[in-house]
Symmetry: C2
Subunit: 448 residues, 2 copies
């Protein structure tokens, strides 16, 4: 793992380019290598290859059933657009790159303009690792500059992994779809990650939830795609107490330096849009003033009716700003959820007394988001098999999969069926005797 040889340089560069704290970047580098090991585990386990057989029935009438064997192969070269906010864990050597390489696809990564030097150093480390393992150098390349559109349009590219803004994602998606040969694009774009505060939890521990909420909202200057930007909570005194506790906590927190000038400007514009929206009330800001390229935490409140009347209030404000929507009880939750666009996560804060209400909303929540979590916040995306970091449009461009977790690899595979192949021409994965020792299915059931 050559990343580790260069870790000091890489972390120093990322710190200089993104202003992210060194400790956070060290953790992120660990996550990057952990992610590579995760996909290595999946490769060794082998289920990803999707090997399945149908037993031939040579005597069947009116026609024999042939020998059918299926496996999955890589779709071909993948273009990867890394995220601004994870210069290590979701950029050049990040999740999309790791999953595409694991699927057997060469990767062409576009360096993010927010951390070009870090991208270059990481690419060097990948190149060294490939060379050390004897892989062809062409398996991985880094391209720089304003080449994103050309990269997606290039005939050799067969799929795209993207993490970024809705604007950028939809523009590239249009290119991917209008090629002579259209290609799949996995864009993770935009999510405001609703938080539902149920009455029981609000009453029993509203102040503690408020502290946790503010911590999650402002973590990393709010620059996480799973940042909890929208809170649904009931009208009434318990909701008021939560609000007041959140404002009090937020007002202690200073401005933080954001990743890029562009993100900082967009944050300012987003907050200004909320400030000027009819019915939206500014509750409070963080401590002090924002310096150059800094974002100051901000909290707003709006009635359910005013929220529902203004779809623009659903637009993601990337940074430490949150909007509280005061709902008319649990029925109000339903009404707001029905009006929401697709999300990466939705978080439920509830006690046992709230379970019945939550249970009724569950079918709606499942249709809304890729991950539903209880008594927590979506920030912190575990690299694990069952993780879904995805969700309905516009959270992602393809809700059938995830960019973190085991299914991330499967995005870059397609099935091929081999019918009546002579033994010596079968790929190893499909040979009798199972030389690669892969999990297989026969006639629809797990087999030897």
């Amino acid at each position: 793992m050559r990343l580790e040889h260069h870790s000091a340089d890489i972390v120093a560069s990322a710190h200089a380019e993104t202003a992210l704290p060194v400790a956070r970047l060290q953790g992120e580098l660990g996550r990057t290598t952990g992610q590579l090991r995760f996909f290595a585990f999946i490769l060794r386990e082998g289920s990803f290859a999707g090997v399945q057989f149908d037993s031939p029935l040579p005597e069947r009438l009116p026609a024999p059933r042939p020998d059918l064997r299926q496996r999955r192969i890589g779709v071909g070269p993948v273009a990867v657009f890394g995220a601004s906010n994870f210069p290590l864990a979701f950029s050049v050597a990040g999740g999309d790159t790791a999953s595409a390489l694991a699927a057997g696809c060469p990767v062409v990564c576009k360096a993010h303009s927010g951390h070009p030097e870090t991208s270059r150093l990481v690419a060097i480390a990948i190149g060294e690792a490939l060379q050390a393992q004897g892989f062809p150098a062409g398996i991985f390349s880094l391209v720089t500059g304003s080449v994103g559109a050309d990269l997606v349009a290039h005939p050799a590219i067969r799929a795209v992994g993207f993490t970024g803004s809705r604007h950028g994602g939809t523009a590239l998606l249009a290119i991917a779809q209008s090629r002579r040969v259209p290609i799949p694009m996995y864009a993770e774009m935009s999510s405001i990650n609703p938080v539902l505060l149920f009455p029981g939890a609000l009453k029993s521990r509203g102040a503690s939830i408020a502290a946790d909420f503010v911590a999650s909202l402002t973590l990393g200057v709010g620059q996480f795609c799973t940042n909890p930007g929208l809170v649904l909570l009931p009208r009434g005194t318990d909701g008021d107490a939560f609000r007041d506790a959140a404002v009090a906590a937020l007002s202690q927190l200073p401005a933080g330096t954001m990743l890029t000038d562009g993100i900082c400007e967009a944050y300012g514009a987003g907050v200004a849009a909320w400030e000027n929206a009819p019915g939206v009330r500014a509750l409070g800001r963080g401590a002090g003033a924002a310096g150059i390229r800094q974002g100051l935490p901000a909290l707003f409140e709006v009635s359910m009716a005013d929220f529902l009347a203004q779809p623009m209030l659903q637009q993601e404000v990337f940074g430490p700003a949150g909007l509280l929507v005061r709902c008319e009880g649990s029925a109000g939750f339903r009404q707001v959820l029905q009006a929401l666009e697709g999300q990466l996560t939705v978080a439920l804060h509830m006690d046992a007394t709230d379970h019945a209400d939550a249970h009724e909303l569950l079918p709606l929540l499942e249709r809304l988001a890729g991950r539903i979590l209880v008594n927590g916040f979506g920030t912190g995306v575990e690299v694990a098999h069952a993780m879904v970091h995805g969700g309905p449009w516009p959270a992602t461009s393809d809700s059938r999969t995830t960019s973190v977790g085991a299914l991330a690899l499967e995005r870059f595979l397609r099935p091929v069926c081999y019918q009546n192949f002579p033994a010596e021409l079968l790929p190893e994965a499909l040979r009798d005797g199972n030389p690669w020792n892969l999990p297989r299915r026969r006639d629809g059931r797990a087999a030897q």
Copy 2:
């Protein structure tokens, strides 16, 4: 299975509307019910639900790993556009409908204009079956008329299954992608299903392959998406002998009635385009003349150079017409394969002496088609777990899946992750104790 109650009426209607032989339609009805049973088997087996857990690590530092559980749920209502050429097995109660219903998705089927009355009868049978099982009637609806574009654009529709022409498929795909919320569309559109005749097989049994080829080419008046429309074979005397045997066999076969006037007109236009293409030589036609709505078999030949110079020769001619491309040896095969668009199938006819040549081409073939078959033809698509009836663009709009076989169901599913859920709120599929007895994975491995 209420289809069986109405089978006589359904078959009689389909025969009247499509001119397909009664025996073929009876077989097709059997395939339809077989397909429903196939997906019922998959549902009972349960792997489709994709249940996987990660074990929580409450003591882990710096942060605990949460309890993560994943399953897949239906994407929502699916619009199904049935095929003209399988009025029973791939239309109203066909593969797309069966797989979407199995995935838990309501289906809105658009009746094909080639067999509206058959569609109506089959929809009645489905309605009766749903009623008998106590399902809500809204699970299945049939719509008729020129409503395809409106159906794909409708906000309630969440995915589309389509079998038809490239023109129709791409038009609907553009609508699916330009919706406010874009949706996935699985369009099976266009394929000429290359057949490769290797020298050894050609020498040892060219005449018998020629007979089988002509039988496959003209089966069902050539109206199969897996119809072998393109044959690559070497120049030289063995190739000439194959050609002459194929022409002789073809010349014995009369015209056949085609499915619709439109298909018959398009067939005539396609054959005329070949007749007028530079370098394309007409080898022979079937016996007699074509009557009203009839297609007469036709065989053409072209040199490799002329084929490569005219991409229009790759356009599917839907019907009993084939084009022989005379290649310069095995290197010629490679050159032609590299120039071909994506295909549903590619068929290799070879003896043991050809295996080395075939082995070299295999990576190219895998990238070209969804199914590679040896010493057979692609007509006859087995409903089986390992089947792939799919392939790279323009064979389908989404090469990551198949419209026949086990993966067909998975097209209409998306994953949802449940994090730290209280036991009583977990869906049954994810509960401790496994009440539904589903195959599960834990920490990336098959588990109890």
